[in-house]
């Protein structure tokens, strides 16, 4: 048998199996309607889950892009200081990050497409559920159980097919977001533990350490000069006022007002 007919038969027979158990065909209407409402909730939750996953990817991509910019800045700084080796290292890491970003971008676009499809599916299902609800009331009000049978069959099989279709789409989306959550969680953990930072160039990385040490070279000299100057001035003061030990021993009461002594 052809593919088109087989898929159609399988989808329908699964839907009918659930409904055949009910005795009064009109119960079928209420049962099916309940299932429709549940499915509608499930689809909307699916859309929300996909959106959450997509936003999380967006945040991670932003973080990685920031790190890329930082590496770019480091490369420039290193080149400016004549350290081509360091610049090369920074650019190499930047390229590695690009691979991760591209990977995240692909996932992002794929999720975006899923989100759009699921949104359309949920709107379609909602329109059908509303049409079904009206038809259900008409059938219940107008027909006896015996008469209702064929009309119920038509209404239910049309929407059951939609439910089967949407159900598969939601299932796929859930599987995919679960996988992505796991991967995103792993990346978040790596970032939190600092493993990714060490690799990708943030505060504790060795490129920054070298750049910092180069930049801090002159500063340390200045700082040393300043400290030496202070020590020189301090010892001159001490000579003027006598040694601190002698001072304290001779006049213990003066220790209670050190600020007055300093000011003088």
């Amino acid at each position: 048998m052809s593919v088109m007919k087989r898929v159609s038969l399988i989808l329908k027979s699964k839907a009918n199996r659930a409904l055949d158990r009910l005795e009064d065909p009109r119960e079928t209407l209420d049962y099916s309607y309940q299932r429709q409402l549940e499915m509608l909730t499930q689809v909307r939750r699916g859309v929300a889950d996909v959106a959450t996953s997509r936003k999380r990817l967006e945040l991670q991509m932003n973080t990685l892009r920031q790190q890329q910019n930082k590496l770019d800045g480091q490369a420039k700084q290193a080149l400016g200081a004549g350290r081509e080796d360091l610049a090369r290292e920074a650019l190499g890491r930047k390229a590695t990050l690009q691979g991760q970003i591209s990977d995240l971008e692909n996932q992002y676009h794929s999720l975006q497409a899923d989100e759009e499809k699921l949104t359309v599916a949920s709107q379609r299902l909602q329109a059908k559920v509303e049409a079904f609800r009206m038809q259900k009331e008409t059938i219940k009000a107008t027909y006896t159980a015996a008469e209702a049978q064929s009309r119920i069959g038509e209404a239910v099989s049309g929407i059951s097919e939609e439910m089967g279709d949407v159900g598969m789409a939601v299932q796929r989306a859930q599987d995919k977001t679960a996988q992505m959550q796991a991967r995103a969680g792993a990346i978040d953990e790596l970032m939190a533990s600092g493993a990714l930072e060490d690799m990708t160039g943030t505060p504790r990385d060795d490129i920054q350490a070298e750049l910092d040490s180069m930049r801090s070279g002159p500063d340390i000299e200045l700082e040393l000069q300043r400290l030496k100057g202070e020590i020189g001035a301090g010892s001159a003061q001490a000579i003027e006022g006598g040694t601190p030990e002698a001072d304290g021993a001779a006049r213990p009461a003066a220790a209670e007002q050190p600020q007055a002594g300093d000011g003088a």
């Binding site: 052809s2 593919v3 088109m4 399988i10 659930a18 329109a127 049309g158 097919e161």
Partner: protein
């Protein structure tokens, strides 16, 4: 006749196109049976393209069942196989 493409919705197609679609469907079935992913992809794309080109979308609030149902465009060979196997893939 009404044809559903899974994941896309239903379209109405003039019965005059039945033979043409049946031929494409038969080619798809051969590809599934032979198990060549490349042939399968081409055959699936061919029938889906034709259905989309010939079909007019049904209103969103239509409750009409389809006469035929086709796999989604992204489905691979394994997915279609497990869909066609009795125990299936399609949630009941």
């Amino acid at each position: 006749m009404i044809v559903r493409i899974l994941g896309e919705g239903q379209v109405q197609i003039d019965d005059a196109a039945t033979d043409e679609l049946n031929a494409l469907d038969a080619a798809l079935e051969r590809a599934v049976n032979e198990g060549d992913e490349q042939d399968f992809r081409l055959a699936l794309a061919a029938v889906l393209d034709r259905v989309r080109a010939l079909g007019t979308p049904l209103a969103a609030d239509s409750l009409e069942p389809s006469d035929s149902i086709l796999p989604r465009a992204e489905a691979d060979l394994d997915e279609v196989r497990s869909m066609l196997s009795d125990d299936g893939y399609i949630p009941g």
